[in-house]
């Protein structure tokens, strides 16, 4: 009996070894281990054995059965792995083919820089406010200390719709609106960004352009001064235009401020050495600024004896051109998708 079991084991192991596909293996498994299998019949014939031999033979059968089961399942694993590999091989793709995706969108460079400026000033406690582009003479000029007859109000410089309505020539109009809206004469810290319009169109001037305007008004005792204006604009220039730039305050004239200053910044292009962009001076005129004119305070409901502050403004188009190295202002408005598509990623953090 012992030898019979050995023989079955040996023969079956050889048969398993020879099997080449999963289906035959299943059939063989039934033949060897199934109810009608050879090993089972050995077990069945055990009752003919002596009582004391039975456990010995039983364990031999079980051991043979274990061994064969292991061989079969090992073979099974091999076949499954082979099948899987075959399947995987079939499913292999060229991973260098292009991906599937929506067209990539973009944010216009001007709005990118506006967003950064807004965030910067909000972080310093400024409110971002908005005003209409279709303005009245009153807010665009009169309330900014530009009485009738002032040269800056000439028809030739502005797009008038009627005698009273015009496209705003400057975001400063929002200064007056903010002061008027502030009925309790609370302190003001605001900026506004937006489109402005002037009646000129040439290689360096677009009839439509963008400005940022800032206004700070506080109680006289808090003494918001020229030194504060300087410090604020230093932060603005170094965060938005370039960290290593110097500023030069040059006395100037604007009707809404007194004293007034134009602010030059180290030439972006040559770093101050002198080039054709800065006309060899090393400086680029960037901002207009000054201490709010007492007339402007008065006209807009603030007592100049009790309140004071500063205002500043600049064109954004040129800042955007500098930041992104845009060579021609017209790119900003022609909207060639080959231009727009280039503004499709995250900016550096400001």
């Amino acid at each position: 009996m012992k030898s019979k079991i050995e023989e079955i084991k040996k023969k079956s192991a050889q048969e398993i070894e020879k099997i080449t596909d999963l289906k035959s293996l299943e059939e063989l498994k039934v033949k060897i281990l199934g109810k009608k299998g050879e090993l089972t019949s050995v077990l069945r014939s055990m009752k003919e054995l002596a009582e004391e031999e039975r456990p010995v033979i039983g364990s031999l059968v079980n051991e043979a059965r274990d061994t064969l089961e292991k061989l079969i399942s090992k073979k099974e694993e091999e076949f499954k792995k082979y099948e899987m590999n075959k399947k995987l091989e079939k499913e292999k793709i060229d991973i260098t083919l292009p991906s599937s995706k929506l067209k990539r969108g973009s944010i216009h460079p001007l709005n990118r820089i506006i967003e950064d400026m807004e965030d910067l000033f909000v972080s310093m406690g400024y409110d971002v406010v908005e005003g209409p582009e279709l303005e009245t003479d009153e807010f665009c000029f009169k309330r900014l200390n530009l009485p009738e007859g002032h040269p800056a109000r000439d028809m030739q410089d502005s797009f008038y719709i009627t005698d009273n309505y015009l496209l705003r020539t400057q975001t400063s109009a929002v200064q007056a609106r903010t002061m008027i809206a502030n009925k309790n004469q609370e302190p003001i810290r605001m900026i506004t960004c937006g489109k402005t319009y002037r009646r000129e169109d040439d290689a360096t001037h677009s009839h439509q352009f963008n400005q940022i305007e800032g206004l700070v008004i506080d109680k006289k005792e808090r003494n918001v001064s020229l030194a504060d204006l300087k410090g604020t604009l230093e932060v603005f220039v170094r965060k938005i235009i370039g960290a290593n730039l110097d500023l030069r305050f040059r006395p100037s004239y604007f009707p809404f401020t007194e004293p007034s200053y134009e602010v030059d910044v180290t030439c972006f292009k040559c770093g101050g050495k002198g080039c054709n962009l800065c006309k060899q001076t090393g400086w680029i005129e960037v901002l207009g600024s000054g201490i709010v004119h007492p007339n402007v305070l008065k006209i807009n409901g603030y007592d100049p004896e009790k309140y004071g502050g500063f205002a500043f403004g600049t064109g954004i188009d040129r800042l955007a051109m500098f930041r992104y190295g845009i060579t021609d202002m017209r790119y900003l408005y022609t909207n060639d998708v080959r231009f727009l598509n280039q503004f499709d990623r995250k900016d550096e953090e400001v």
């Binding site: 599937s100 965030d119 406690g125 279709l134 309505y165 604020t232």
Partner: protein, 791 residues
């Protein structure tokens, strides 16, 4: 304003060691920008020579071979000038000389003849032709016999001047004069200012005996007349001519030049009339509408009642503040001159000069004048006419003066100055700065009373004085800091910004377009009722109107890109549309989207943008803004004709139309171009609840599919509405998952739509019977409307 340094040095001593650029930069620092700072004649290696021999070039009909004595040697020079001749003293540019315009003179051979330099014309060394006499325009410069051979011709001609061209601010009219510039420079370098020589003799009886002046308009504030007899018209002395040239004015003759010279020197424009042509009367009045005048430049001008004119009592002889008339011009034959020095209303002069002609004179009148200077200029002109035109000044002066020529006194606290500037300037420094400015002061303990000189008409309030201190003390000396104010949170409405990012994330390029369009475009893509806003004075007719819809703007951008073969144009922009409705002028913020070409890229997927892509963008936006389940796309009865009638819908939120989406009509655009516009002001005014978590149901959902066969003219929306109504609250979601029209449906007018319905309840598991009963109800209801179940 061109500043001749030679001219200003008459009145102020500028430190000798400063070059012209340093002076210009110093002026810039106190607020006076400049465009250029250059030598009047920017040439090197020039020397005075004498032509000792002049022969014709053997191989040329116009060149000459010259031997030129320059003192140390004789040079052979080939010269083409028609006026070169033996014995002539000339300007020689020697080998290596640098001339304006980058010209460098080198030894050369001209048609076989050696040439060791160049004989120069004045325009070749940098004097513009417009300033030169006919002879000097056409030939080399002929130096007088007394020119020293071997000497420096620039110094000999007194052309060794330097010129700064300033770009002045509008308020500093006082700097449109050499004397004003002298004061400005004196305050920078802490120097004294000399006063002009006004002395002259007087002859005869008072001018009032023979000449009358009448002022009939309040737009004339100050009017002075004097008479200069027996003038001798000739060329001006070199210093006058050179200073005029340096200042950009063409010399004419001594009398005309003196009027310009005084204007440059003192900032007060003068006018000289030929007394014999004028007669013995001047009347100043407003012009009549349609009145005509031929001005000095020979042009006939039509005037209006807004223009101030000078008349001889009968006919108009000059346009006040702008230009004189031709008939009373000073000519070579002029013997007697009437001198006018006046102040006219600056706004009136500006309006007239804008209309007719801008001149050196009008520029000064526009900025405002100091009456003290008007008197000074009159006497200065008399002084110069006597000295350089042999004039005899008739006794007396006609004077009309309604100016309130009072010196302004302003009291200012020292602390105020420091508060505004944020500085800590001592009392002594403040007083010293006023002294440099030549402002008289009366110091008190805490404040100072400052007397503002009449020349500084720009200064009227104490803030103006703060600016003066800041200017001269130096802004660079003030340290920047941030304001010390109570901390407060800054605010910004981020909705628009978020929309921009959403649209960009959806694959659209943000554009920035012009709001000005052609009036022919303004009513396109809309059926709204409004009055378009047209510009009174457009630059071009192509941009003469403010847009109402943004679609024309974006469509233009599409066309621009199409013309450049740029495919796949998917754009958006947030901007304004403008209108007049009733009496209200207004503007609305809108978002506009345009899509064409490929939007989704996947290998094997080759579909261009269709209606459902742009509808998807619209829904993405509305869902993002919180309007989910509150909007619908409806077919309008009144569609703008620029849209495809079968592929366009109005966008309705809360049953209110907020926008439109659809394809551009194939008659306008044969490519498939889809556009959408939503009025953001209108949309965002509709309130949205807070974003709030909704408990996730713990109970399973039941899914049922429903395939129905309907007439093609029944919309998916119709079917969905019916299903939802019958299904009730238990229906959580309904999705169309299949659409079929084709040969498997026998009736050609029908199509099949298959929906997946999801049922569920927050609090329990649904049982089969109730779902089946709901489904039966739905099917029964659909059948009533001819929508049958597809088997």
């Amino acid at each position: 304003m061109k500043l001749s340094l030679n001219f200003v040095k008459d009145y102020v001593d500028i430190p000798e060691d400063l070059d012209v650029t340093t002076i210009a930069e110093d002026m810039t620092r106190v607020g006076n920008e400049y465009d250029s700072a250059i030598k009047l004649v920017d040439a090197t290696n020039l020397i005075i020579g004498k032509v000792i021999e002049c022969k014709s070039h053997p191989d040329s009909d116009h060149l000459h071979l010259c031997k030129v004595d320059i003192g140390t040697k004789i040079l052979n020079i080939v010269c083409g000038a028609p006026n070169v001749r033996e014995g002539l003293k000339v300007i020689v540019a020697q080998d290596g000389a640098k001339l304006p315009g980058g010209v460098i003179i080198k030894k050369s051979v001209i048609r076989g003849q050696e040439s060791n330099g160049m004989l120069c014309a004045l325009y070749e060394i940098g004097i513009e032709k417009k300033f030169l006499s006919e002879a000097d325009k056409n030939g080399i410069c002929e130096l007088p016999e007394n020119a020293p051979i071997g000497g420096n011709p620039i110094e000999f001609l007194k052309l060794n001047d330097e010129v700064i061209d300033f770009d002045l601010t509008a308020n500093r009219g006082d700097l449109l004069s050499i004397l004003g510039m002298a004061y400005e420079l004196s305050s920078i370098y802490d120097k004294d200012v000399r006063t002009p020589d006004l002395t002259h003799k007087e002859v005869g009886e008072d001018i009032a005996k023979e000449f009358t002046t009448e002022i009939e308009t309040e737009n004339c504030k100050l009017f002075l007349t004097r008479k200069a007899k027996d003038v001798v018209i000739k060329e001006s002395p070199d210093f006058i001519k050179n200073r005029l040239i340096a200042s950009g004015i063409r010399p004419i003759n001594n009398v005309v030049d003196i009027s310009n010279y005084v204007m440059l020197e003192l900032g007060q424009p003068l006018h000289f009339y030929d007394n014999d042509n004028l007669g013995n009367k001047i009347v100043v009045r407003m012009a009549n509408d349609g009145e005509k005048l031929t001005t000095l430049d020979g042009q006939e001008r039509e005037l209006s009642k807004e223009d101030i004119v000078i008349t001889d009592g009968k006919k108009t002889v000059g346009l006040a503040g702008v230009m004189g008339g031709l008939t009373t011009e000073v000519e070579p034959t002029t013997k007697n001159v009437i001198i006018e020095a006046a102040i006219f209303d600056s706004v009136k002069v500006r309006k007239t000069s804008n209309k007719i002609l801008r001149s050196e004179a009008s520029n000064r009148f526009e900025k405002g004048l100091d009456p003290a200077r008007t008197y000074m200029a009159m006497e200065r002109a008399c002084h110069l006419l006597e000295k350089y035109a042999d004039a005899k000044i008739v006794k007396g002066m006609f004077k009309y003066d309604v100016t309130k020529n009072q010196e302004k006194k302003i009291e200012i606290e020292y602390q105020f100055i420091n508060d505004v500037l944020g500085a800590n300037i001592s009392k002594e420094d403040i007083l010293n700065t006023f002294k440099k400015l030549k402002f008289e002061t009366k110091p008190k303990e805490k404040s100072v009373i400052v007397t503002v000189p009449t020349r500084r008409i720009d200064i009227s309030i104490k803030e103006d004085l703060v600016e003066e201190i800041g200017r001269i003390y130096g802004v660079d000396n003030i340290q920047g800091k941030l304001p010390v104010v109570p901390m407060k949170q800054g605010s910004v409405n981020k909705t628009i910004r978020r929309i921009e990012h959403k649209m960009s994330d959806l694959g659209l390029n943000e554009t920035l377009t012009y709001i000005l369009i052609n009036d022919k475009e303004v009513r396109k893509f809309t059926v709204d009722k409004f009055e378009p806003l047209k510009l009174l004075d457009p630059i071009t007719e192509d941009r003469n109107t403010l847009r109402y819809s943004m679609i024309p703007s974006l469509y233009k951008i599409y066309e621009y890109n199409k013309a450049r073969e740029n495919k796949d144009v998917c754009l958006f922009e947030i901007g304004k549309g403008f209108y007049k409705k009733g009496e209200v002028y207004g503007e609305d913020q809108k978002i506009c989207v345009l899509m064409s070409g490929k939007y989704y890229n996947k290998i094997g997927y080759n579909q261009d943008v269709d209606f459902f892509d742009i509808k998807g963008v619209a829904e993405e936006l509305l869902d993002f803004l919180g309007y989910a389940n509150r909007y619908s796309f409806v077919i309008s009865k009144q569609m703008p004709q620029e849209f495809h009638p079968g592929q366009t819908a109005e966008i309705s939120v809360n049953n209110d139309i907020v926008g439109i989406v659809g394809r551009i009509h194939p008659e306008i655009e044969k490519e498939k171009v889809f556009v959408m516009e939503i009025n953001l002001d209108k949309l965002l005014a509709k309130k949205v609840g807070k974003m709030k978590f909704k408990e996730i149901s713990k109970f399973p959902v039941v899914k049922k599919d429903l395939s129905i066969l309907v007439d093609k003219n029944i919309t998916s929306k119709d079917i969905e509405t019916k299903i939802k109504k019958k299904a009730g609250k238990l229906l959580l979601d309904i999705k169309l998952f299949d659409l079929y029209e084709g040969k498997n449906i026998l009736d050609k007018n029908k199509r099949s739509l298959a929906y997946s319905l999801t049922f569920g309840d927050q609090n329990r598991t649904l049982n089969d019977e109730e779902i089946n009963s709901i489904m039966e109800n739905i099917i029964e209801d659909l059948a009533k409307s001819g929508m049958e179940l597809r088997k």
